[in-house]
Assembly symmetry: C2
Homo-oligomer: 335 residues x 2
Amino acid sequence: MEETGKSNQVELKSLAELQQIISEKITGFCELNGDKEIFQPVNYIMQLGGKRLRPALCLMATNVFCDNIDGAVHPALAIEVFHNFSLMHDDIMDRAPIRRGLPTVHKKWNDNVAILSGDAMMIQSYQLLMKTNPEVFPDVMHVFNEVAIDVCEGQQLDMNFESRVSVSVAEYEEMIRLKTSVLLAGAMKIGAIIGGADSVAQKAMFDFGVELGMSFQLWDDYLDAFGDGKLTGKLVGGDILADKKTFLRLRCMELANEEEKKVLLANNSVNLNDPGSRVKSVVDLYSKLGVDEELKKEAERRHQKALSILNDLKVPVKRKMQLQLLAEQLLNRTN
Amino acid sequence: MEETGKSNQVELKSLAELQQIISEKITGFCELNGDKEIFQPVNYIMQLGGKRLRPALCLMATNVFCDNIDGAVHPALAIEVFHNFSLMHDDIMDRAPIRRGLPTVHKKWNDNVAILSGDAMMIQSYQLLMKTNPEVFPDVMHVFNEVAIDVCEGQQLDMNFESRVSVSVAEYEEMIRLKTSVLLAGAMKIGAIIGGADSVAQKAMFDFGVELGMSFQLWDDYLDAFGDGKLTGKLVGGDILADKKTFLRLRCMELANEEEKKVLLANNSVNLNDPGSRVKSVVDLYSKLGVDEELKKEAERRHQKALSILNDLKVPVKRKMQLQLLAEQLLNRTN
């Protein structure tokens, strides 16, 4: 761990700088894949873009404990490849036609290609992970495997919710913890391990990641209904039209009376053939019952919890600044 | 490596003993999985049975170089779990309804379950692999990753063949090398690494595994058309009815005249609604053109090549006996 005495000279890498590093690494990864048939969908999904949040958080976590982040670059890339593998397979299962404004892999090719290239991609994530310094590799791989299984279990819960009539908000939060938050958290713990953090600090980074991930996903739910489509690049009310069981919908179901519940249920909706009105009537109901405010409060609570964990972490304040900044950016984002 | 002086006292484990060890480990693995939803299909496919050839070959390869095979048990299990993961996903892609006499996972549950539990299973194979002795773990994982990618590429070729009009026998052999042989070969190389083999011996075990795998798969093709359904437990002519591009069919296409080709093409077959006659007419054509004998010759050639590689391996003859025995059993098997 960096000594306190040195902390004044420290220059931590910014999110933009880290994204640049990751972007270059992804380009190199895709070039190495070449034009082999099985890797074409891999290169396609890896180059769709995105915030590169997981690898950035991994590198940032290393940087909290160590000036040199080089050792975390391959594991960070492994995490991003794993994340995109899980998107590729989730999109098949969810029958999602569009990802980041472009056709999903199973739409552009077909289901079999998406299954098989996804499988190859998961193996590739382990190939990248193997480039971790051998001294910490077992610890890193242990975390990686654990969160990878959690991501699968989160997807299982998410699929189960579809066919269930009633899901509690607590169950929903457990699902997004597994499906989204633990991979962010695992990325940070891996970064911390590589940076030389002790086990207390490793755990703190993991816990910070979980809270940040929860706040991130909840805010995503908010933006779907209350965001500006021009800024998010997504159809406003996409979750509503897909009848997705999000925080907003589930909490609304808990609070709504019988008449109001009918607004939520597509089958009973008078606006079935008018998506715009359907979205508006549901969003209005959310506002009327105050579930938007509840969600904002919950996202804020998670955000504060993350900051408090970060605050308690025993490293010089300067070393935490980039993480703090990122947390702020994520909460107040409009896209 | 075992010293020559000790070789007389050596008692190598037989296939049956190794299968017993593997079977117990699989039971333990499934018990640990418990009844968690995502692991139910994992336990189901792992308990469908099978020859456990890959893990047995892994342990046998260790036993060639070392009396104690304990260190290879977890990696052997990892390979069997990976193999079954690939079967689970291949069955979705091939729309196969039956595996070892029982419904495939995507039939018993659904496609999404088979995708997701397969994903979890691949992660589990890495969890098991991690239990390898840290000293050799990087080498072991490197081999594992390489053959895992090859298996995916083999499946890709296999799927491509379906939509191609003409495929050469050489292309077919390359496909089965990737899809079947390299995993057997990788299992043996991993076993050899754990047994303490030097790099020359490791390569010999890999090469032996490739030839054994080729001979094994070719013999499988033979049994489909010329085997006894009562012994194989499979429908005789299953490959013929599914229009699978096997060695027999591809070589037959190369040799057949225009009239004979019509027998092979289901679309033109007069026996389309009479599977029994259809199989018989194709099998008769195979015999007439002698492709069954060509296949047997090729399987035998691969078998001999395997034995010659084993023969050249510089370890006491007694240490190779179980592998030799297994190779004989695999070639002359009726199921």
